[in-house]
Symmetry: C2
Subunit: 200 residues, 2 copies
Amino acid sequence: MLDLLKSRYETPIPVGVSNRHVHLCQADWDFLFGPGAEPRRFRSVKQPGFWACYETVTLKGPKGTIENVRLIAPHRKKTQVEIAKTDASQLGLRPPVRGSGDLGGSSPIRIIGPKGMLEVKEGLVIASRHIHFSPPEAEAMGIKEGEIVRVRAGIGGPRELVYSNVLCRISNDYSLEFHIDTDEANAAEVKTGDHVYIEK
Amino acid sequence: MLDLLKSRYETPIPVGVSNRHVHLCQADWDFLFGPGAEPRRFRSVKQPGFWACYETVTLKGPKGTIENVRLIAPHRKKTQVEIAKTDASQLGLRPPVRGSGDLGGSSPIRIIGPKGMLEVKEGLVIASRHIHFSPPEAEAMGIKEGEIVRVRAGIGGPRELVYSNVLCRISNDYSLEFHIDTDEANAAEVKTGDHVYIEK
């Protein structure tokens, strides 16, 4: 139990970098892949119960397209596309920075699958950075649900930085991990599995 | 002269975001575009004396290619290719984070122009972030050449952060500007012309 004696500032938090990905609702899956088709498991992802699919789609915006964007299954109630701002610039779109599921007023996006092209009215977001904690991890580190902290990354490297506005989320489904997108990871030169620390 | 009374921490510093770009040496230009060809001015860039060319090249790595990469003229003594880490991932390369001109041990890169493909043995880097100051600006802000500072960006926005390891460069050719690449800009949601501040 020595770990419990560590303060929140001394506990190494593993990084999980999210590449661009798509969650489809059942109706949008059926439209893009055909009714009766089923997504096939490609590999696990860190979120318990979810997995990356063999199936990919193409995203289309006014300025460009991005191919081979991975689907995450099982399907969700609402289609949600999470990209980095670099991707958004390539597509020519300006999605807002949002927490998962907070899609009101998010950007429209065209999604192309083997059976056709779908026009999604809203659902394109840039994910806001956050830390996942299990309840025991949060308790040991003195973290409350919804707390905002600062996180130091890339310590000792050429691109060390401190992220502000990092949201803490606590759930039995979670284990300790700091979630950022590829732009945020690249700005600090960190990758999945590296460790970061909460900053005083 | 009221501005001179502002401390380094109170002076707004404009951001300049560098997109990926290529500086060629004369021999490499001749190889890619043909002897006797001359680069044509597309638009000015912030660095005095330099300009972006109409001419572009394609970068090729083991995993992918990036087209329409802008050339900067006039030519340099040594070919230097500056990309973001997101670009490096797309190419399948791992260039180091370096200051301009510091190319020893940097990555190899293939450059394709209208006359052929060039294999550059070293010259691919990710630019290290820095601030340019004129001598009077540096004096007013109490900045010494080579000083390392921290810079706060995206203040009040969803992606506010503090960059560590920011190098201060002073020259008569410079005017006050904080130079970062697209990954770093996107991680903070800042763009060219936004203002940042030196952090205590």
